[in-house]
Structure formats: structure tokens, C-alpha cells
Amino acid sequence: MATVNNWIDHLSAAEVQGAVYPGVGTEGVLVIIAVILWIGWHVLQNNAESKHMDEMARKRHSANDHKSNITDW
């Protein structure tokens, strides 16, 4: 994975390569992974929120019920 193995060789080259992160050339794969993680997060968050809302809605609390749950800590 290492793009640079020797800084002296790297910086004294006729043309210094700018990109020094591991795995230069795999950026496309990294972007695909990022897109999957991003969209996947929305799916998981939406599922969890929908379930939570359905459960909460079934309880039908009044506007002041939460006051009995206010804690001292």
C-alpha cells in the first residue's frame, strides 16, 4: 500500500509525485465504498426512525406527560 518508501528519493526525484496517500490509483473504489456507506446510512436511519415513530405514536401520550419523566440528574 505504501506510496512512499523513502522520502529522500521521493523529494529528490526530477518530478515529485504529489499524491502520497496509501493506495494511489484506488480512488475510484474508495468513492464507491463512500457512496454505499452514505446511502446505506440513510436506509438504516430511515428504518429505525419509522419504527421508533410507529411505536411512539401508539402510546398516545398527552402534551404534558413528559413532565413526570423529568429527572433530577
Partner: protein, 466 residues
């Protein structure tokens, strides 16, 4: 970097933008505190988390496509040719400031020894994106789903404000060339667009339960924690210093840039690469803040929430031309903006039953629009760009700043890129049943089960003997 002066200039610029990012982070801290302070106890934690989660969502999408949009869209596309490649198509060629270098798989979008600026500039713009999304966040508290807000935050933070920035904030933007648009510190490109977007959502989302009586009279749902609100707004003021600095280029030689033979002129410039000074804009920032506070205190009857918000509205209104205004002009413009924003807020609330929980549409949207229109008159005739200035509508040249162009620009920002997209996306989310939380949850409070769990924890601990 092979010579010391070039290295110093580059690394100073890199560090300058880095500092602006740190300062602008405080804007988001302030927005979170402000929103939580404005929300009711039973919604506090969800309100906080909704605004917090826009940070990763907008950041990731800004990396994936937001930054690319900024560099690709200055021409419209199809509205005015680029001064770099003389084409009106999307700028994706090999030219120096092409979007080609800012696709997420580009090696410039990473640690790159050959580029010290792209990353910090990307981050400075990203912090603007958070601000745009956070403006929307406050307006919709206590009734929007986190899912819907996440989608809307990405839309305003990584798409629509980016398009307007490409059009009206990029040195090559078509709005400068055709309209003579000028918006140095983002009255329109951040504030008017985000305010309009928030209004579009609010039309579909509807008011909080209890906001309006059965006869339609609005009820005041004031901030639950005024101290958190005021500290939040103070932090937003603090972060705004970074915002202003980030809208400048700290050191630039305009002689060769403008093609002036033999001329060397080092200066700070605004985002359009026309000269200004950090010193001058500092005076204008403080005088417009002062004008906003003075007017807000009087017009709101010394209400702290509105007085603090008016300080912000004052800065926002004067921001379009604060690179060139006299400080007293800034102060007067700020005062006008506050009166417009405050009056419009209550008129719209009564007339259209719009529940803007924190006055975001007023402070950012109305004050921003007022600032753009005023700027068109006060800076009438100034060049919108240093590159070259020609007649309006020519397209290949830059129109001077003018009232009509700024008025059209204000409509583009508030309505075309703000209100309409916000309304359409909210309508789609509403149609999917994903926009608003269930009525029962809103009444009980979004945090009801968290509070209940906390109470149970407390009981368990308080009765424990070991």
C-alpha cells in the same frame, strides 16, 4: 514550492483558510445551542441531533459532488461563456480551475504535496454549506423527521447553494457577467437561498401544533432557554468573523492577474478577485452588527431573542457590499434590513400561517434579499469583476453592478434556487409520508421515550444499595 517567498505566500494562504474553518466551526456550535434553546424541553435531544447530523451528511456529499458542482457550473451551463476556455458548457476540461480536478476520485482531493490550497478552500466552502443547512434546520424544529431533514440538508448544503455560488460567487460566474451581480459576503448566496429554501419547506410542512388558534391567531412559542439562545447567537457572531475572512483571498498580486503590464499590486481581495482590505471589512462587520442590534432593540421592544437575531440580520443585509461600503452606510443598511425582516416575519406569519420557529426565513431570507437590492443601488456602476467590464447582457463580458441585475439576482437566490426547490422536495417527501412526524409523537414530545428511560434509570440507581 522552490522559492521562499512563493512558499510563504502559499503556506500563509493555506493557514489563513484553515483558521477560518476553525472559526466557522463556532457558527455550527452556535446554531446547535440556539436551536436547542428555542425548542421545548420535550424535543431538546432530537433537535440537537437533527442539526448535528447535518455535519456528516453535508460533508460526505460535499466531498462526493458538492465541490464538483461549484467548479463545473459557473457558465450556467449555457448562459455565458467561461473566461478560461470560452465555452458555455460545464467546465470539465483541462483548464486550471476546472471541475475535472475536483471529482472525488481526483488525487487533488487528498493529501497532495503539489497542492496546499484545494483542501482548505474545500473546507471553507463546506462550512458555508453547513451554515446554509443549519439555517433551514432552525425553522423546522419539533415536527420534521430526521430522515427528511437529512435529505433537505444535503439538497441545500451540497446542491442548491453550490449552484448559486457557481453562478454568483465564482469569479467566472454567469450572474456577474450578465447581471452585474455582487454579493461579497453572501447576503444572497448563503442567506437568501437558505431562507427561501426554508420557506418552501415550511409551506408544505405546516405549523407546530398549537402555534395558531382555531381563529388563526398566532400564539407565541418563545425560546425555552433564552440563555442558551443568546450564547448561541454570540457564538454565531464569533464564527462570522471566520465567515468574512473565508470570503476573501488574503494575498494576491492583481497586476498580472488583470493583465496590467509591469504593474505589481499585492492586496487582499474578495471572492471575485477585486480588491478590498481585511481592515475595512472589519469596520463594516462591526458597524452593521451595531446597526442591526440598535434597530432590533427598538423595533422588538428590547426582546432579547429578536435583538440578538437582528444583530445577525444587520450583518447579513450589509454583507453583499461590505467589501466596499463606508461603515456608516453599512450601519444604515443593517438597520433597514432589520426593519424589513422583522415586519415581514410577522406579516407572513399572520397572512399565510407560516410557523418559522426561529425567524430563520426573516433573518436570513428577507434580510438577505433586502441586502442584495440595496447593494444594487449603493454600488451602482462599480465593476462586478476586475477582469473586464462591458455592457449588460453581452454575455462574454462583465456587466457593472446595477439595481436591476441585483434585483433579478435576489429573485434567483430566494425563489428560483431557494423557495421552489425547497417546496418541491418537501412535497415529494410529504407524498412519501416521510416529511412530518406523527401527530401523537409531536404532542408527546420527540424525546418522550428518552425521558422515560432516563427516569427509569434514575429510579433504579436511587433505590440501589450497592
Amino acid at each position: 514550492m522552490t522559492d521562499q517567498l512563493g512558499a510563504l505566500t502559499t503556506i500563509f494562504t493555506e493557514f489563513y483558510y484553515w483558521i477560518t474553518v476553525v472559526l466557522m466551526f463556532l457558527i455550527h456550535v452556535g446554531f446547535c445551542m440556539y436551536e436547542v434553546g428555542a425548542s421545548r424541553y420535550k424535543h431538546h435531544q432530537h433537535t440537537l441531533m437533527k442539526n448535528t447530523m447535518l455535519i456528516p451528511l453535508v460533508t460526505v456529499t460535499w466531498f462526493l459532488f458538492g465541490w464538483w458542482i461549484y467548479w463545473a457550473f459557473p457558465t450556467g451551463p449555457g448562459l455565458a461563456p467561461s473566461i478560461m476556455n470560452e465555452s458555455a458548457a460545464l467546465i470539465t476540461d483541462e483548464s486550471a480551475f476546472s471541475a475535472k480536478w475536483y471529482v472525488p476520485s481526483s488525487d487533488l482531493m487528498a493529501v497532495n504535496l503539489g497542492d496546499h490550497i484545494s483542501g482548505v478552500f474545500w473546507a471553507a466552502f463546506l462550512l458555508f454549506s453547513w451554515t446554509a443547512a443549519s439555517i433551514v434546520s432552525g425553522a423546522v424544529i419539533e415536527r420534521i423527521t430526521t430522515f427528511a431533514f437529512g435529505i433537505l440538508a444535503i439538497a441545500i448544503g451540497s446542491v442548491f447553494w453550490t449552484i448559486d455560488a457557481a453562478w454568483g460567487w465564482h469569479f467566472d460566474g454567469w450572474m456577474l457577467k450578465l447581471l452585474g451581480y455582487h454579493d461579497a459576503y453572501a447576503s444572497g448566496v448563503i442567506h437568501a437561498v437558505a431562507g427561501g429554501f426554508a420557506l418552501g419547506i415550511l409551506i408544505v410542512l405546516g405549523p407546530r401544533i398549537g402555534k395558531f388558534s382555531s381563529s388563526g391567531e398566532p400564539r407565541n412559542i418563545g425560546p425555552r432557554n433564552p440563555w442558551l439562545v443568546t450564547i448561541g447567537l454570540f457564538l454565531i457572531y464569533t464564527g462570522f468573523w471566520g465567515f468574512y475572512a473565508a470570503c476573501n483571498i488574503p494575498i494576491f498580486d492583481l497586476g498580472p492577474e488583470y493583465g496590467m503590464e509591469g504593474v505589481t499590486y499585492w492586496t487582499a481581495t474578495n471572492i471575485y478577485v477585486t480588491p478590498t482590505t481585511l481592515s475595512g471589512i472589519t469596520m463594516n462587520f462591526l458597524m452593521s452588527l451595531s446597526g442591526g442590534l440598535l434597530a432590533g432593540y427598538l423595533i422588538s421592544g428590547k426582546d432579547p431573542f429578536w435583538t440578538y437575531s437582528s444583530g445577525l440580520a444587520g450583518i447579513i443585509c450589509a454583507s453583499a457590499g461590505n467589501d466596499l461600503y463606508h461603515p456608516i452606510q453599512s450601519m444604515i443598511i443593517a438597520m433597514i434590513g432589520v426593519v424589513v425582516a422583522y415586519k415581514l416575519h410577522y406579516w407572513v406569519e399572520r397572512k399565510f400561517k407560516i410557523d418559522d420557529a426561529v425567524g430563520a426565513v426573516a433573518v436570513h431570507g428577507y434580510a438577505g434579499v433586502a441586502g442584495l437590492i440595496i447593494c444594487g443601488f449603493v454600488l451602482n456602476g462599480y465593476p462586478s469583476s476586475g477582469y473586464s467590464v462591458g455592457a449588460m447582457w453581452v454575455g462574454t463580458d462583465y456587466a457593472p453592478i446595477n439595481p436591476l441585475g441585483m434585483f433579478i439576482g435576489a429573485i434567483i437566490m430566494f425563489v428560483i434556487l431557494g423557495l421552489i426547490p425547497g417546496w418541491i422536495i418537501a412535497k415529494i417527501l410529504h407524498g412519501m409520508g416521510k416529511l412530518r412526524i406523527p401527530r401523537e409523537v409531536e404532542i408527546a414530545g420527540l424525546d418522550y421515550d428518552m425521558l422515560e428511560a432516563s427516569k427509569n434509570d434514575e429510579k433504579a440507581v436511587s433505590s440501589a444499595t450497592r
